[in-house]
């Protein structure tokens, strides 16, 4: 089962290794680790998001071990890719490498592009694409959309997002 866990680590050496050790001890496979140094909390801790694959029966034990190590577990997301959103892209999408966009989302480990409709009216004209993105949680979905926005801005592609609170169920 794919699990996304948000934890907070103290800002001293060795903390990340200490947090990852129980996962490998229990046979988990780490997919991605996002270390949010830029989002240091008021308590001085650093939010870290870990996505990993682990047997469902071992999850409770894993969370206990993390807590025993003094690691704060803020959130556990277990349902895989339960949030989804549709976004439209308008611009020279194919020419500016649509694969790069998809890869950027897919390699997060917590979000994927699951559907892509592309419409190319004429060679020199702007294309339009509809992308469905799925993610393990609302926050991850938002992050994936922000990643997409960053890349499309650089490429001069317009991104049209759903109005807030209107993400697909």
């Amino acid at each position: 089962m794919k699990v996304s866990v948000d934890i907070e680590l103290r800002d001293i050496p060795g903390q990340l290794v200490s947090a990852l050790t129980p996962i490998s001890e229990l046979g988990g496979n780490i997919i991605s680790v996002l270390h949010h140094r830029d989002r240091k909390t008021q308590r001085g801790t650093i939010p870290v998001q870990i996505v990993f694959d682990v047997e469902e029966s071992k999850l409770a034990m894993l969370l206990r071990r993390l807590r025993e190590r003094g690691i704060t577990v803020v959130r556990v997301g277990t349902e895989r890719l339960k949030e989804a959103a549709l976004v439209l892209l308008i611009g020279h999408i194919v020419r500016s490498d649509v694969k790069e966009l998809i890869d950027a989302v897919d390699k997060t480990g917590f979000a994927e592009v699951v559907e892509l409709f592309l419409c190319m009216p004429a060679i020199e004209e702007k294309s339009a694409a509809a992308l469905t993105i799925r993610a393990v949680g609302k926050d991850e979905l938002e992050q994936a959309l922000e990643i997409l926005e960053g890349i499309t801005r650089d490429k001069g592609i317009l991104i049209v997002r759903p109005i807030e609170d209107e993400l697909l169920a």
């Binding site: 549709l86 976004v87 439209l88 308008i90 611009g91 409709f117 419409c119 009216p121 004209e125 702007k126 294309s127 339009a128 694409a129 509809a130 317009l158 049209v160 997002r161 759903p162 109005i163 807030e164 209107e166």
Partner: protein
């Protein structure tokens, strides 16, 4: 019966709309609210028409005669001033500020065109001068409110006068007055379609599979878009209205430069089609919340969502702490529509004072 003397500063579509509505509704307003609305001054760049200059010592302008003269003169290809003079109406060489200061009246209706580039002038000076002279102000002019909200509110407070500005956002659609209707609530966020021109263009593009330029030209031909449509289609007009809502309804201290603005010029029929196939429409949405988010951008709106209104309609969705979600929909543009909002403001001011 209370007599309410009005000056109308700026006699374009909105100023004439107000005059028209006063003509039509005067008896009804007298009866229902005990207010007798009299126009005592009309001023525009071509000069001023004053009640006192009719030679009969009259205390109000014959608005029928003025509207009639302008209409006939226009048909004969005359300028507004020529039209009035040809039909025996005296036009004084007075400037707007002079009229506001010198002519005795109770409320100044500011209906000059919006100018965001030039510091909201001449509207801002008109409003400040009127307050200083002890007159209430009702305006449809967005520029002064979007650029100098705090300053104008403070000036009104000092003068112990009121500023009504319902007509600046959403035309006939009531939204500023929801402050009173929702008193006790905290308004948490507002999302809305605040520009009828963009909404018309997007609606036509989607319905007829038209490119942006075609839909824009069509809108211009039927008078929905202006000859210079930049302010509308680039999202500037929506952003200005959003700033007014942010300040008036959410109590923020926002200004135009705080808004992230994307217009509709890049939207293609193919994109609208993809949206449609997935159960969405594309709308230009202005959005503000308590955290200070101020954004104007094309957004995907589910077809079944209350903000999916078509044509030139405006719509807004307000989130509040007690009442939950409130949606208002209405006509966003037009002389009579703006006049509806202006007359409402005038009545509210004098009913409560």
């Amino acid at each position: 019966m209370r007599e309410v003397r009005l000056s109308i500063v700026g006699f374009g579509v909105v100023g004439r709309g107000v005059t028209e509505v006063i003509r039509r509704k005067r008896a009804e307003i007298k009866e229902k609210f005990g207010l007798d609305l009299r126009v005592v001054a009309i001023v525009d760049l071509w000069g001023a028409v004053l009640a006192s200059s009719d030679g009969k010592g009259g205390n109000e302008i014959d608005v029928d005669k003025v509207l009639d003269a302008l209409q006939r003169g226009k048909a004969d290809g005359l300028s507004p001033r020529e039209s009035l003079e040809t039909h025996g109406i005296k036009v004084e060489d007075m400037q707007s500020l002079e009229v506001i200061k010198e002519v005795e009246h109770d409320v100044m209706v500011e209906a000059t065109p919006t100018n965001v580039e030039s510091d909201g002038e001449p509207g801002t000076s008109h409003i400040l001068e009127a307050l200083k002279a002890g007159r209430h102000v009702v305006t449809s002019n967005k520029g002064p409110l979007a650029l100098h909200f705090k300053k104008l509110m403070r000036a009104a407070e000092r003068a112990d006068r009121k500023i009504g500005f319902e007509a600046t956002v959403g035309g006939a659609m009531p939204i500023i007055s929801l402050r009173e209707a929702l008193a006790g609530n905290e308004i948490l966020s507002i999302k809305g379609i605040l520009n009828g021109t963009c909404n018309y263009i997007l609606t036509r593009m989607s319905e007829e599979n038209l490119p942006f330029e075609h839909a824009l030209r069509e809108a211009q031909e039927i008078g929905i878009a202006e000859a210079d449509p930049k302010s509308d289609v680039l999202g500037v007009d929506t952003a200005v209205k959003l700033v007014i809502l942010a300040n008036a309804l959410l109590g923020l201290d926002a200004s135009y430069k705080d808004v992230s603005v994307t217009g509709i010029t890049e939207i293609t029929p193919e994109a609208l089609n993809l949206a449609k196939n997935n159960g969405y429409v594309i709308k230009l949405i202005g959005e503000v919340d308590r955290d200070g988010k101020l954004e104007v951008a094309p957004k995907l709106v589910p077809k079944t969502h209350p903000l999916n209104v078509s044509g030139t309609l405006n719509a807004a969705l307000l989130k509040t702490d007690l009442a939950g979600e409130i949606v208002v929909v209405g006509r966003g543009a037009g002389g009579v529509e703006a006049a509806s909002a202006i007359i409402g403001d005038v009545i509210r001011i004098f009913r409560s004072s």
